[in-house]
């Protein structure tokens, strides 16, 4: 057999002749089965339309069910009908050509330019064909404008016939509005008109008459698709259920029969018209059952029938559901769970999964012993094997092999064993929605007990995963090429730096940050036992450095421990996240220890927090570490040092208590006083507004001015200031406060809302006002504009909300939920369109970006040739950092 290449695909319209030529059966019978339930010849179930029973051979092509592609039949229609898919084109051609002679109605400007209409058509045709070769898109535009202009011409330039308006009544009726009134154009009339249009005239309107003569848009012969396209289903009861298309085709055949009868018996015109109309309806809904302006075709039990269009369209349609997205073998899906004892490169795979997913391994002298072991273990004991492929290509299912030991002895070069997934195998791990390339990464398998996939917490950000029930997919590459690609390009550690922005997307989150802060704090002094504990958590084997404190006891600092894992020539300086407000520092003379100084691989000053090791934190200590020492060092830092951070928290204990968010009475009183003052100020504003003293701001109404003043000047201030009061009374080592300051979790706003006051609730940025007339609920006086009546929640979460406050809070919260729901659907749609538009662009070896046809999109990638993954946060070169690396400090 020789190979063929598909060079191009051309779409056209089937002509009646072609339909007849490809048809193997003419449909005559409107019944499908005889009394014994055998499909009738010349019905839409004719066995010549395709073999449906296994073992049978096709009468037409002689193939069995697997090979026979099915064959088309045809139905000769008693009267032609319009194809719904083409009504727009039919309408346009009817309007752009003469009703009498069928010529293209050349607009007067062209006649003026070229002399007479014949010459104009000739000349336009010449220009058009030339343009089509070089600028096909431009030619299309020209054809469209010509067509549009021709539709406006009211007298034929060829025969002088007066032209009438042609109205399309959706979906398939055409009317001509002449002086004598509206005349319905039957498909026969329309077909006659379309037949008259010459090829050349069609071509300048943008049609290809060789592949799509317009009269073929009117159906005279209907192709009957093969049975393979509309298989019947045998229900458990033994009854046959036919495909929607078969039902629809049966309707069409019946309607056609009725029309034929009416014509043959010479029935009155109305009866014929009705039968014709019905045939048109059935054929229309056969193509598109959701055609607007037509009742939806329904199955007997009320389920809407699926037309041909419905098979292709939408998310579950052929394109999006079966071609762009397929269900695949060698894949698995289950719930995910965290496992801090894995490497970031690993994924924990349940044994039950490992026993089903397989990797084909060729037998060689070097692996034959191991593979024999797998075969002996068989399909039910891990690590085993499920199938063996013999050198002559037979697949042996190990479930049914009686003597596996004997089979194992037979193994030798040329055999292939489909063995269970094993530790060290590479797999692809994925979480939807796959919005960026880090949504699918290569992981190394660790087979573990349990039923969930497990992953390291530091890879949550690239997948955007959490463990509230998230599920993920796992795919096993089946050949060496795919496995190599996965290892070299997709492995997690290769994705630490994100190409989305110059910075690490894999890095510290939550407890890793709290742990780093606690460990690197000045107050942390560690005994020898503790140091050993921490270092062994990192798997460290080697000497312990000299302690920083010798007397009264030997103590090591946390900074010393961290320094042991930094490269010896590493320099870094930068403010920590905790450097803000009172604790702000901007150079190494820092009392608060909030300025990080690493010199020659020693952490000399400063605490590590989100700014140093956090995920999605560009220009951080960790970012420079990965950028300058490579992904291997970056991975090792997470796999070792991050485990120390967790160990620190385990030993110290890190939690959140009610105490952390409870305030002393004096603080509460202070906040209460502040809020009351604010309410008073709101009152004053309202009074000034009522008495007309309030001046409107430029461009604003008086009401808007009042709202802005209340919201911005008074109430926002009130929340901010109560937050400050709350924080003022908080201990620096309050757990919640540590988390907020270090960036581990939560913000000062969260603390404020828990401890001090929830503050103003809002909908679309305004105070909550809708509900009852002139008030939110019946608990307030009508027209009350005061703070509490319009959604200011005075209480904190600790204090507890009053019922009315709870409703205000729920109203504000709802807006957030709606927003996210709307945003995700919108951004998903945009993502799909962008990917469809950009997927075939590639970077050529000369660094230019080109489309698949070879056209140039960018002369050099990104117009600067910079890989954003290797640059620094939107900069292509960072000279300051270069100096810092060498000199140990910035300029």
């Amino acid at each position: 057999m020789s190979d063929y290449m598909i060079e191009k695909i051309k779409f056209g319209i089937l002509s009646p002749d072609e339909i007849r030529k490809m048809s193997v059966v003419q449909i005559i019978s409107k019944d499908l089965f005889d009394d014994d339930g055998v499909p009738l010849k010349n019905s839409i179930m004719d066995p010549r339309l395709g073999v449906i029973e296994p073992g049978q051979r096709c009468e037409i092509c002689g193939n069995t069910m697997r090979e026979c592609p099915g064959h088309f039949g045809r139905l000769e229609l008693a009267r032609p009908v319009i194809h719904v898919g083409f009504v727009r084109h039919i309408h346009e051609i009817l309007r752009a050509t003469c009703r009498n002679c069928g010529r293209f109605k050349v607009p007067s400007s062209y006649i003026e330019r070229y002399g007479d209409p014949e010459k104009a058509v000739e000349e336009i045709y010449r220009i058009y064909t030339k343009m089509k070769k070089r600028w096909p898109l431009l030619a299309k535009r020209l054809a469209n404008t010509l067509k549009k202009e021709a539709m406006k011409v009211s007298q034929c330039p060829f025969c002088g016939a007066k032209q009438y308006k042609i109205r399309l009544e959706k979906p398939t009726s055409f009317f001509e509005e002449s002086e004598e009134g509206n005349l319905k154009l039957t498909p026969i009339d329309i077909r006659q008109r379309l037949e008259r249009v010459p090829d050349k005239d069609l071509e300048i309107m943008g049609y290809d008459p060789k592949e799509a003569r317009p009269e073929w848009m009117i159906i005279t012969v209907l192709p009957i698709p093969p049975l393979t396209i509309r298989p019947s289903i045998i229900l458990e009861t033994g009854a046959r259920a036919e495909d929607d298309l078969t039902h629809k085709l049966a309707d069409i055949v019946r309607a056609n029969e009725k029309l034929k009868e009416a014509l043959e018996t010479g029935a009155p015109n109305i009866i014929v018209e009705d039968a014709w109309e019905l045939l048109q309806y059935h054929i229309t809904t056969y193509f598109d059952s959701e055609t607007p302006g037509v009742p939806v075709a329904k199955q007997r039990y009320g389920r809407p029938l699926k037309g041909l269009v419905q098979r292709l369209k939408g998310k579950e349609g052929r394109f999006r559901g079966n071609l762009s997205g397929k269900r695949v073998d060698f894949s698995s899906r289950t719930v995910i769970s965290p496992d801090p004892y894995l490497s970031i490169n690993e994924v924990g795979v349940p044994v039950d999964v490992a026993k089903i997913l397989t990797v084909p391994e060729r037998v060689t002298p070097w692996n034959v012993e191991r593979l024999r072991e797998y075969v002996i273990n068989g399909p039910f004991k891990w690590p085993g094997a499920n199938y063996v492929i013999t050198p002559d290509g037979r697949r042996l299912d190990l479930r049914f092999v009686k003597d596996r030991k004997a089979l194992a002895q037979e193994l030798g070069p040329g055999w292939i064993v489909e063995r269970h997934l094993d530790n060290g195998d590479i797999v692809l791990f994925n979480r939807q929605p796959s919005l960026h390339r880090m949504s699918i990464m290569g992981h190394i398998v660790r087979v573990l007990p349990g039923r969930a996939f497990r992953l390291h917490l530091a890879v949550c950000p690239p997948y955007n995963a959490d463990f509230d029930g998230d599920e993920m997919n796992l795919h096993v590459p089946q050949n060496e090429e795919a496995r190599t690609e996965a290892r070299v390009l997709m492995l997690v550690q290769k994705q630490i730096l994100s190409p989305r922005y110059g910075g690490p997307i894999i890095g510290g989150i939550q407890d890793y940050i709290s742990g780093a802060y606690v460990l690197s704090s000045k107050t942390t002094l560690l005994t020898k036992e503790e140091v050993i504990d921490l270092l062994s958590a990192a798997g460290y084997i080697g000497p312990i450095p000299e302690p920083a404190v010798l007397s009264p006891k030997r103590y090591w600092t946390g900074k010393q421990i961290i320094s042991m894992f930094l490269p010896e020539d590493f320099n870094y300086r930068g403010a920590a996240k905790v450097s803000s407000g009172k604790l702000a520092c901007n150079d190494y003379e820092c009392f608060w220890d909030s300025y990080i100084v690493v010199k020659k691989g020693k952490l000399l000053l400063g605490v590590l927090d989100k700014k140093a090791i956090g995920s999605q934190e560009p220009e951080s200590l960790y970012h420079f570490l990965v950028r300058e020492y490579g992904d291997e060092v970056g991975r090792e830092f997470i796999d070792k040092v991050f485990r120390i951070f967790i160990k620190v928290l385990e030993k110290r204990g890190f939690t959140m208590t009610l105490e952390d968010i409870s305030l002393p009475n004096e603080a509460k009183a202070e906040i209460k006083r502040l809020l009351n003052e604010s309410f008073e100020k709101v009152h004053e504003l309202i009074n000034r507004y009522r008495s007309g003293e309030l001046e409107p701001e430029p461009g604003r109404t008086l009401e808007e001015t009042l709202e802005i003043k209340i919201m911005e000047d008074v109430l926002r201030n009130a929340r901010e200031m109560s937050g400050e009061i709350a924080v003022k009374y908080m201990d620096l080592f309050n757990n919640v406060f540590i988390m907020a300051r270090t960036g581990a979790r939560g913000s000062t706003l969260n603390i404020t809302q828990m401890a001090a006051t929830l503050g103003q609730q809002s909908i679309r940025g305004a105070r909550i006002s809708r509900g009852f007339r002139d008030r939110y609920t019946a608990h307030f006086k009508p027209g009350d504009l005061g703070a509490k009546a319009r959604g200011f929640v005075e209480n904190s979460f600790v204090e507890g909300l009053t019922p009315t406050e709870m409703f205000f809070h729920a109203a504000g919260g709802r807006e957030g939920l709606v927003d996210t729901a709307v945003r995700t659907s919108q951004s998903g749609y945009m993502q799909r369109r962008l990917i469809n538009a950009l997927q075939d662009l590639y970077v050529e070896y000369d660094l230019s970006v080109r489309s698949i046809e070879g056209s140039m999109v960018q002369i050099i990638y990104g117009e600067d040739g910079i890989d954003p993954m290797k640059g620094i946060h939107e900069k292509s070169v960072d000279i300051d950092r270069l100096i810092e690396r060498v000199a140990g400090h910035r300029l």
């Binding site: 000369d846 056209s855 140039m856 600067d864 910079i866």
Partner: protein, 96 residues
């Protein structure tokens, strides 16, 4: 200033093609220039493309009209870029 502008934009409607103010004075309009034919051939050879493989620009584009570009010309656009300083790109002028 605003008075002269509005008067000129009115007159440009009737004359259709010519603007009498300099669009290149605006900071967001990059520099456009017509590439001489021999240089254009050189550039196309260097990039390994046919003229129509370059991104297109309409002859009716205000910048093309302002420098008098005709269909078939190659235009050099020099843009400012925050990462690359200056970026040179080429456009192929098409009718329309």
């Amino acid at each position: 200033m605003s008075e002269t502008k509005s008067r000129k934009s009115k007159s440009s409607k009737s004359q259709s093609a010519s603007y009498s103010f300099d669009i290149f004075k605006h900071e967001l309009v990059p520099k456009h220039e017509i590439v001489p034919i021999d240089e254009a051939v050189e550039i196309l050879k260097r990039l390994g493309v046919k003229p129509e493989d370059l991104p297109w620009i309409r002859a009716s584009d205000p910048a093309v009209r302002a420098i008098g570009g005709k269909p078939g010309d190659i235009i050099r656009v020099i843009r400012k870029s925050p990462t690359a300083g200056e970026v040179v790109v080429y456009r192929y002028v098409i009718p329309g």
